[in-house]
């Protein structure tokens, strides 16, 4: 089994109104499902920040396999219990054999994500 890891953290304050109202930025970074989820929250910023950190962590882990994917092709969702998962929105066969686990956390000021990708 080949295992790669990725980690990233981001200051929540960086996801302020200047970005949350920038549709080009949101669409380049987040899927419509992610935007809908985050914008449904009273304070969307920590949710966007956590997802951005997760995508960055995924990108770092994927680089270990010489793979690269745009931010909006990596989707982070939560199940009914709030457990996050990663989905690759691509038909490229290289991604079909990947297993990806993600863990998210945030404090008042920052969000962090750890990702493990294996095949």
């Amino acid at each position: 089994m080949d295992v790669k890891i990725g980690v990233d953290n981001v200051a929540i304050s960086r996801f302020g109104a200047n970005l949350l109202f920038h549709s080009t930025f949101l669409n380049r970074c987040f899927t419509s499902k992610e935007q809908e989820y985050c914008l449904s929250k009273t304070d969307p910023s920590p949710h966007f920040a956590a997802r951005f950190a997760a995508k960055e962590a995924v990108i770092k882990a994927l680089s270990g396999f010489d793979l690269i994917l745009e931010h909006n092709k990596i989707e982070i969702t939560n199940d009914a219990r709030g457990r996050p998962s990663v989905h690759y929105l691509t038909d490229e066969p290289s991604y079909s054999h990947l297993h990806t686990d993600v863990s998210l956390s945030h404090s008042e000021t920052s969000a962090i994500a750890v990702v493990v990708v294996y095949r």
């Binding site: 981001v10 960086r14 970005l19 920038h22 080009t24 930025f25 380049r28 970074c29 951005f52 960055e56 690269i68 745009e70 931010h71």
Partner: protein, 78 residues
């Protein structure tokens, strides 16, 4: 790409990176300048796309490793 477009790129880059225009040069690079991280990179890309009504290819976004390449690769779309 005319001078007006170049000035627009300079203004956007300076504003997003927080680097004064008179300090900009082509060698300012992603991952070597403290202000230029992945989030700022995507902000920059998004702002250029909005301003010029263009959409960059992924390969070009990755290749934009310094300010000179930002100008050069943006010119391809104008």
């Amino acid at each position: 790409m005319d001078q007006k477009d170049i000035d627009t790129i300079i203004n956007i880059f300076s504003h997003i990176m927080g680097i004064p225009k008179n300090e900009l040069n082509d060698s300012i690079a992603y991952n070597s300048h403290p202000a230029w991280d992945s989030l700022k990179h995507l902000q920059l890309i998004s702002e250029l796309e909005t301003e010029f009504d263009i959409e960059f290819d992924m390969d070009d976004i990755i290749a934009m490793e310094n300010f000179g390449l930002i100008r050069e690769l943006t010119a391809k779309y104008l």
